[in-house]
Each structure stands twice: as structure tokens, then as C-alpha cells.
């Protein structure tokens, strides 16, 4: 079959151009270390990258939330531990006040000390987090939850609604705390429907202080029992915090692992295999050289050279 001269050159030129284009692409890949030079050149990898990047972002967001949650729990833990210590002190003082060896004047002094602890616990109950939100106010966390009214009675102005945050798809964790969690009301005379009533923790404190101040033995002993219940409540909540921190830690580990797995998947898709790429580049360059030299040689073969 005859080959037209200009056709011949055009074909060779096309081959050269193709080789050079391939080499240029490989160079770009080698320079960036990425198999996907532009999304248009590798649409399938581009689509996968979008998905994986999205998931990785999401995991990071969850990790951020988990760490914030842990921080908050840590702060609550420390506040609650302090409260417990104070209640223990109050228990010790009350035991002393209940004993007959003390005089009325001593009891008055104990009452003053008890009052001091009660005030400290009140202050702790109104602790705020670093953003200025009250820790134990439920969802109404911009208003001080425990407020003393004109008569010195502590009133709870917060709310009982739990708040949750998302830490995973379909998985949310409780973030806030309400009064019922840490300082729940006590029920007095639970068995007698007539005189059954609820008393807040601070009411319990105030009643105890009054009983101690007035050397009311029965009242003091009742107050001691109630202090026990308050202490158990705080202990229960401390355990709860511990459990929650445990869950947060586990969840953090799981999410970190998942993020790592996704990152590896993405790397596998995108990272260039340098060995293969360099080998390919060498082979393309070899072809290019061969083509160039053959063109140079063969193009000189023409009959006209011999027509002299």
C-alpha cells in the first residue's frame, strides 16, 4: 500500500505529540504525588475523593464535639467532687453537733460553719463553664439556676430538659446537667400520702442548720439522715460522670480509628505509586527518543537525493 509523503510525516508527528502528552501528564503526577491531576482527567477518583473527604471531615467534627464534651464532664467532675467533700465536712460537723457532749454555744458555732459550707455549695451549684453558661441549669443556662430569695430560701430557676449533641450518625450523648441529676429533691414522709412533701437540697441544709442552731436533737438526727441521702445523690452522679467519660473515651477511640481508616483509603486512591510512575516515564521517554531519531533518519530517504 502506498503511503503518501505528507501523510507519513503527519503520522509520525502525531505519534511524537502523543508521547509528549503522556510524558507531560506523568511529569505532573510525579510533581504533585497525586494520581488525580485534575478532576476531569480521573472522574472516578474525583467522585470517590469527594465522598471520602466528606466522611473524614465529619469524623473530625465528631472528634471536636467529643473533646468539648469531655472537657465539660471534667469540669463537672471537679465541681461535684468538691461538693462531695463539703457535704462530708457537713456530715462530720453534724455528727459532732448531734452528740450530747457539746454545749449549745458550740452548736451555734457549728451552725455558722455549716452555713458557710452551705453557701459554698450554693456558689458551686452556680458554676459557669468557660463560655459563661451555667453548668447545672438545664437549657436555661444563661440565667443563674440557684437563687436566694428575700427570705434566704434557695429557689431553682433552671430547667429540667436534657440536651444532647450528635457524636456519630444516629448516636447522641447527653451534654447538659440539670438540678435533678446532681442535687435531686428529697421526698419527706414518702409513706404518708397526707404529709408527703418534697424538699430541695438547700431546704435540707437550711433545716439542718436551724436544727443545729436551736439544739433540736431530733431535727439534727433527721438532718443527718437527709445529708446521707444528699451525699448518695452526689455519689451517684459522680459515678454517672465517670461512666459518661468512659463512653466518650471509647467513642473517641472508635472515631479516631474510623478517621484513620478513611484517610488511608483516600491515600490509596490518590497517592501515586512512584515506582510504577517512574518506570512508565522511562519507557515513554525511550519511545520518544526512538521515534525522534527514526524520524530524523527516515525522513532523509528520498529518491530526489539521487537525482543529481
Amino acid at each position: 500500500m502506498k503511503i503518501a509523503t505528507n501523510q507519513y510525516f503527519l503520522k509520525l508527528g502525531r505519534h511524537l505529540a502523543d508521547q509528549q502528552a503522556d510524558i507531560a501528564t506523568l511529569q505532573a503526577k510525579l510533581a504533585t504525588g497525586d494520581t488525580m491531576v485534575t478532576p476531569g482527567s480521573e472522574p472516578r477518583i474525583a467522585a470517590r475523593s469527594l465522598e471520602l473527604n466528606s466522611i473524614i471531615e465529619k469524623q473530625q467534627g465528631f472528634l471536636d464535639n467529643l473533646s468539648r464534651l469531655d472537657g465539660r464532664l471534667m469540669q463537672e467532675e471537679s465541681v461535684v467532687t468538691t461538693m462531695r467533700t463539703l457535704v462530708t465536712r457537713m456530715q462530720e460537723l453534724t455528727i459532732r453537733a448531734a452528740s450530747d457532749t457539746y454545749a449549745d454555744s458550740d452548736r451555734a458555732a457549728i451552725a455558722v460553719e455549716l452555713r458557710g459550707y452551705r453557701d459554698e455549695i450554693l456558689a458551686l451549684a452556680n458554676t459557669t463553664d468557660p463560655d459563661g453558661n451555667y453548668l447545672f441549669a438545664g437549657i436555661r443556662n444563661s440565667t443563674q439556676p440557684f437563687v436566694e430569695d428575700a427570705n434566704g430560701v434557695v429557689v431553682y430557676q433552671g430547667d429540667q430538659t436534657p440536651t444532647r449533641i450528635d457524636v456519630d450518625l444516629g448516636h447522641s450523648l447527653r451534654i447538659n446537667t440539670t438540678r435533678d441529676d446532681v442535687l435531686p429533691d428529697l421526698v419527706r414522709d414518702a409513706d404518708d400520702p397526707e404529709s408527703r412533701s418534697r424538699a430541695s437540697v438547700f431546704r435540707v441544709f437550711d433545716d439542718l442548720i436551724a436544727a443545729v442552731a436551736s439544739s433540736d436533737g431530733a431535727g439534727t438526727r433527721l438532718g443527718l439522715d437527709e445529708l446521707d441521702k444528699v451525699a448518695s445523690g452526689i455519689d451517684r452522679y459522680t459515678v454517672d460522670i465517670g461512666l459518661r467519660r468512659g463512653i466518650v473515651e471509647t467513642k473517641t477511640d472508635i472515631t479516631t480509628d474510623r478517621k484513620l481508616a478513611m484517610t488511608n483509603l483516600l491515600a490509596r486512591e490518590r497517592e501515586l505509586d512512584y515506582a510504577t510512575a517512574v518506570t512508565e516515564l522511562s519507557s515513554h521517554m525511550l519511545s520518544l527518543e526512538a521515534a525522534q531519531s527514526t524520524i530524523a533518519k527516515i525522513s532523509q530517504l528520498t529518491l530526489f537525493n539521487y537525482l543529481r
Binding site: A4, P39, P43, R44, L50, F62, S142, I165
Partner: protein, 981 residues
Amino acid sequence: MTDLLSIGASSTQLYRVALSTVSNNIANLNNEAYSRQETAVSDNAPARIGAFALGTGARLDAIRRNYDRFVENALRQSNSALQLQQPLIEYTKRIVDLIAAEEGSLTNAVDRFFSSVNRLELDPSSVSSRNELLASGQFLTGRMRGLADELADMERETASLVRDQVDSINTLAKSLLEVNRQLDRVASLQKQPSQLLDQRDKLLRELSAFAAISVSENANGSVQVRLAGAATRGLLVDSVSARVLDMEFGESEGARQGFVLDKYGAPSYLGKLQEGSLAGLVTLRDDLLEPMAEALDFLAVTLVSAGNAEHRAGLDLDNQLGTDMFSLVPRYSLRDTAGDVASGLQARSLASDADPVSLVLTFLGEGSWLVTDSVTGDQRLAREETQRGQRLLGLGPVEVEVLGPQSVGASVVLRADSRPAQVMAMAITDPRLIAAAGRLGVRQDPDNASRLEVALSYGESAVARPPLPGISLEYMQKRNLVTPLLVNTSSPVVSIPRGLESFSIGFMAPLSGTMNLHVVSDTFARLASSGAPSAIGSPPAPWATAVAGTGRYGDYRMTEGALNQSYPGTELFIGARATGALETERLPAPAVAASFSAGDLLLNGQALDALSLPQDAANMPAVVAAWLNAKSGQTGVIATADNVIRVASSQLMLDRPLVINGTTIAAASRADTLALNINAADTGVRAFVDTEGYLHLTNKPGEEGKQIKLGDPPKAGTNALGMPDGYYNGTLSLQAVIFAGGVPVPNPGGDIRFTLGTNGIPSDLTRIGLATTVSGSNGTAQDLHVYLTGSVDTIDARLQAGALAPPPPRAIEAPLRIDFSTDSGELRYTLTDITSGTVLHKARFDFDEGIVFGDVRVRFGRAPQAGDSFDIVPNLDALGDNSNLRRFAALENATLFRGQTLRAFYVNEVDKVGTASQLAEMSAAAGEIVYNENVEKRAAVAGVNLDQEAADLIRFQQAFQAAAQVIQVSTRLFDAILGVR
């Protein structure tokens, strides 16, 4: 001539031509369009010399053009196939680069947005986190707009490319026409100049790049070119004319754009083109660009409406209900009739959720405009208003500002020229307006048995269930519907949608057998019934035991006013009622003796006495009327027995016989004559024709209500009245009256209300010609359902429906209390409005369904106990509540987008375009191989090879030299002759 000289001379000429042909070939070495020419030499006709034929040399036969028609055809076809892919490759790469870029993709922006939502969940009152959410929202909407704008740019670019290519085709066709005309001057292909043929082939090749063509060659080389479309092949060019190619733009949804030849003459519609870059562009636009743009629009519209719905359910920092978070405000353009931008006018969109309008505005002068709706054709006048020095024309959701003078009579077209994705924006700029808190909160009574998880969800929108399967509410509202209903215990026969302001459903209870109807709510609260229901099938609801002593069901039974308190805006009535006057149906003839006990039926609350119904139907109406009238002093209703047969003149069949009550009536040719004949005969019936031409038959005075017998029943037949022969029983005419001085005076506003007493049954009403109707209004938050029970299979029902009340304006609900109690072993709940103490709703508690009121659904983590109480209160000052934010965040993974999440949907679109891109590349790679092969084949036939030309050069040069030698020899021979002395 056989002599040496002439042979030599002609040979040199010949070989000079051959040499110049060869040099021509060499000169055109790099001319793509050139076909190699070669000289065809043939010998001259021999001369007969005696017995011999001597050759006379050679001549140039033709300058043959190396041309293979089949190879050319194959080349053109493979070119069309290859060019088809090129636009696809180029633009799909661009699209994927656009939508899948790491930073610029929509998924990246969505991720950032929902990340900021999640971060705000931690501290909903933080202004800085709120600002971050707004910023990421701006980024998201900005990306959406950016992507949509870029796609719109591509759309414009490709549209203009299409126009350019169509123009190119038309230009090439015109050039080809010229070439054809020139070719037509010569009759034979051999004699055609090669250059012309080369030009022809070049034009054809260029054409084939744009569209697949089929070429048929005539004997003289001129061609007919056809474009291959989907529908037909249209002639583009022949020797006579070149038809113009045009686009057809489908204006409506169904009409796709296509190509048409000779649009304004004798059009041939090609539909889509088969191959070539033009077809590639059209495929790109129709199958990739447009769907991608539509997908973005769908994403934008769905995200905006779902996002706004969630946001509106919450409360912002100032205790106000959330407003829209996103907006889709269309961009309007004003263009004059030529399609250019109208001068001196500016349009502004006012409402973000109204449907875009399309209007034609015609200036009438002096600030008046004629506004024509482009869709409906409605017209109205509008006047400019001057506000703050601006001339403004208010047109509903759009406002036009008149900036410059307008010419009277000139029209401009006002249209929305933006796609939804191009105008998606944030509607909120103030961080305080982000509605993070849920609208309502739950306060659990500390005395409850245990603390439960209570979840509130919003958006229980009333999707109006059709009242009857297959029959829409609109249909029922427009006409009185009469339809048979199947009596069954497992599903309701009619549903009354919530918010329906009036309805009435009437059943003609059977005389033999039983029928009862019951009205229940969605949550199976039994509201009313006409009798004791037998076991209702699934869904099973254990009915309360009969209210003691009444034998009747219904804890929450409607008694006068009692239910109104529990269900404000709701009224249910079972019985038969009218205002002012009521006409009964024809009283049925009892098959067996029947009677009422005292108190079975009540009229206007008054118990009616006992009554033994006469066995014959003839006198029934009179008896019943007398019975009713016995109590007219207390009931305020007077009954008159009556019997009317009313026939339109057009219905009369005067050639038939007429027998009334056994007496034959003389035939008549006209209605009024017939009436006279009837009156003349002694039948107990008198007749007259009214002003509208209706013929009336009624009883003679004193015989009101008596049965009228037509013909000779039970023999069937049709009489002169055009009515079937038979017994026509009387009716009752009831009228509400007030007694003024002992004299009854009609009371047009008076009530006529029949209800069922303790032992009354619906068929009692039927006996006195009344249908048992359930009517009223459904102002509850639930649909009401009517069940029919009884011993019959089907019953005819007459249905009527009024208007559906508009949804109430948005407001935070008033505080409610939910109390739980047990009754007869099942858990019930009571909804009480705390402020007024009104009991709103009592029903059986279904754990899976929860409790629904308004558009709120309350669900519990565990079943509550009897005695538990929950308050649902507005969530005011709940700055730490993030429940609405969490609902909003759930949109990220909601499968709202044709069954997929937002991310999956978007990535799917990217995949679609990516797949198309790869497919196009593979097809192009294959196509290129075929094309290159064809190019080489053609080059093999028509291309110039330098070596071959060089050889020919030598050959012809030698031949020329030899021929020159021949001349020299002949010269010498001649010299020899001349030298002879």
C-alpha cells in the same frame, strides 16, 4: 499521421504535459484536499496503410484524478463518528473539573455548613458560633450560585457554538451549491476540472465533521447531500438549491429542540442529528448539561424547603418563631419584543416563596400599564405609584421601577430568567435569628412514676385524605355526589378531612335489615353513633362498654353542646335536619307492620308519641302528618301530607296511554289539554301546567298525601307522562313555624331537627321519608371517619362537602397538659389547655402513634403510667436548648433527594458525568483509530508520494528525451531527403 515528425512532436507535447502533471503533484504535496493526478495515455487511432495498421503515436487520454468514492465515503463517516465525541470530551472534563474540585465542590460546602451546625449544638447561645454558621451558610449558597452560574455560562457557550456550527453548515452548503452549479456545466465526469472536484470533496469532508451526511453522486460529478436526522433524511444541497438548516426550540416541556431544513418554506423535520460535532453538542446539552443544571436546581429547592421547614419550627434567641433560613428569590428580566433588554426599567423581586410570574406589560401612557399574564392570558390594569421619588409599579411578588420615559404602546416581557440554584441565598443575617431551640418543651411532673424520654416532632402537616377512595375533596365540593357504599366493619366508608368547614353524608337506611353509622377520630375516639356497633374489624379498637342504660356507645358522644367543648370548631349531628322547610322523600310502603314507640324519634328535642304505621301506603303520609302535628305546639314544626308528580313538557310521551288511580285519561296532544283531561276525570288527582312548562299532578284537596297509582301495576309500562307505571307514594312537607297568637307563622330560620331517641333506629327515619344524615364540621386536628355497620351489603349515600378551612397562622402553641389514666383496662390520655382548663381531647393512647395535636407529635421512650402528667409548654428563654438545631442537622443524612442523601445524590451526579466522559474518551479513541485508517487509505489512493513522483519524473523525462530524439532523427531524415540533388 504516421510520419516520424508528427509522432515525435505529439509525443514531446504529451510528455511535457505528463511532466507538468508530475510537478503539479509535487507542488501539491502538502495540500490536504488534493487528489493526485496522473496522465492517462492511449494510442492514437492507427492509420491503415494497405494491409497494415500503423500506429500514429500516443495522445493524452485524460488527466485522471485518483479518487475512490467508497474510500471517501468511509472517511466522511468515520469523521462524523469521531467528531461526535469531541464536544462531549471537552465539556464533560470541564464539568467534572467544576463540580468535583476539592475546594469548590458542593459537598465540601455542605460539609462545612453542617459542621458549623454541629458545633453550634455544643453552645447554642454563642454568638460567635452563630456567626460561623451564617458564614458557612453564605459559603454554601455562594457555591451553589457559583456552580449554577458556571453551568449557565456553559449552556450559553454551547448554545452559541451550536448556532455557529449551524451557520457553518449553511455556509458550506451554499459553497457546495456553487460548486454543483459549475459542475453542472459539463455533462461528463471525465471532463470535469480536477480542482473543482477536489474542492467539492473538501467541502463534503468539512460538512461531515459537523453532521453525518449521505452523498449521492450524479454522472457529472455534482452531488446531492442529505443530512441524516432521527426522523428522516433531509436534502440539504443539490444542483438547484441549498436548503437552510435551522433549530427548532421546543417551548413547552415535551417539545425537545430539533433541527429542521427549510423552516420557512417546505420544512423537513430532522429531529436529532445522528453524528458529527453538532449532534455531539446537542447530546451534551440535552443529556448532560441540562440534567446537571436541573439536579442542582432540585438540590437547591429541596434543601431550601426542607431547611426552612425545620428552621421555622424552632425559636430564636428572642423567643420568636424561626423564619426562613434560606431564600430563593427569582431574578427578573425585562425585555422588549425584539428580545433586547428593555431600557429605563428595573425589576425587583419582593417575595421569596411566591411562584415566579411571567407578564407582558404594555405602557398605556400617564402611568397606566396593561398587565397580561403570559400563562393564563388574564389582563388587568396597573398604575404606577410614586414613592420616595421613584415611579414604582407593584405587580404582586415583583416590583418594577420606571427609570426612564416609556413609549406608549410598547410592550415589555417580564420573566424570571434565573434558575433556582442561581438565586439560593441566606435569608438570615442576624445571628440572633437562628432558631436553635425547639418551639415547645416538656416538663415532667416530678411525681410521675419515672422520668421518661419524651420526643417532640413538628410538621405533622394535614395531608387531606380523600373522603372516598378515588374521589377528591374538590369533586365532592363541587357537586352532590350520590354513590353506593359497601357496608363493612373493617374500614371506614367515608373520611372527613380535618379542617372541613361543613359536610353532610346522608344514607337511606333500609327498612328490612339493620344499618348503623359511627363516627370515630383518627385515634379511635368514638364521637358519635346511631346505635351499637357490632365488632369492628382491624384495626381493632376495643369499644367502651355501653354507657349505662342507654344501650348506646360513645364515651365522648356528641350530645348537644357537650362535645363542642372538647372539640372546638367541631359539630356532629346524626339524624335529619333542615332550616325553615324540609321535603321528605316518598314515604315507603311497609312490607310488614311497623310502629314507633314513644320517644323513638325526637323532633327539635321533643319526644314524639308512639305510632302504629298503617299497612297501606295510600294513607301513610296523612297519618304521619297528623302524628307530627300533634306535637307542633312544642316542636314548632307543621307537617303537611302531599304528593306531587312533576314532569317537564319535553318528557311527556303524549302518544301513550295514561291511567291514573284506575281511570283512563283521554289522550291529548298538548300538556295543558292533558291537564284539563286529568282534571275532568274523577281520579282524586288534579293537574296544572306551570309557567315553565312543567306539568304538575297533586292530590285533590282533602286527599293530600294519598298514593297515586299510574297505569296498572305490577304490570310494567310507560305512560303519557313519560314515567314508569307504578305506585307513587305521598311525601311530607315540613315547615318550621312560630305561633303568633295561636296562629302558626312560617319561620324561615327555624330548626327542623329529627334525632334518634333511646330505642330509635335509622330505619325509623326512612319510614317517614328521611335519610339518616351525619353532618357538621370537623374543626379537630384529626380526620374523622364514618363506619357503616349493618346487615345489608350496600347503601346509597348522598355526599356534600363545604370548604376546607385555611391553616391557622403560625404561633407558638399555648401550654397543654397531658394526663394519663386507665379506663376499662386501657391507657387513655387527656389533653387539657392549661390556661383555660378546657379539656381539648381525650382518646385511647397508642404508644407507637404517640399523641398528635396541631402539627406536633409527642412520642414517649416508654409507655407512661396512669397518673403520669406532662406539661407541654413554650420553650421560652431556653438559650441552651439545641433540639431544633439537631433536627436541622439531621437533614444532612435525610434521604430527601430522590431516595438519597444530599451527598450521595451529588456524588451520583458527578459519577454520571464522569462515566459519560470516560465513555466519550473510549469511543473517541476507537473512532480515531478507524478515522486514521481511513485517512491513510485515502492517502494511499489520492496522496502524493515523493518517491513515486520522482520515479515518474525520471520516466517521463526519459520519454521526453527519447521523443526529442525521434524529432531529431526525423529532422536528419528530412535533411537527407533535402540533400538529394
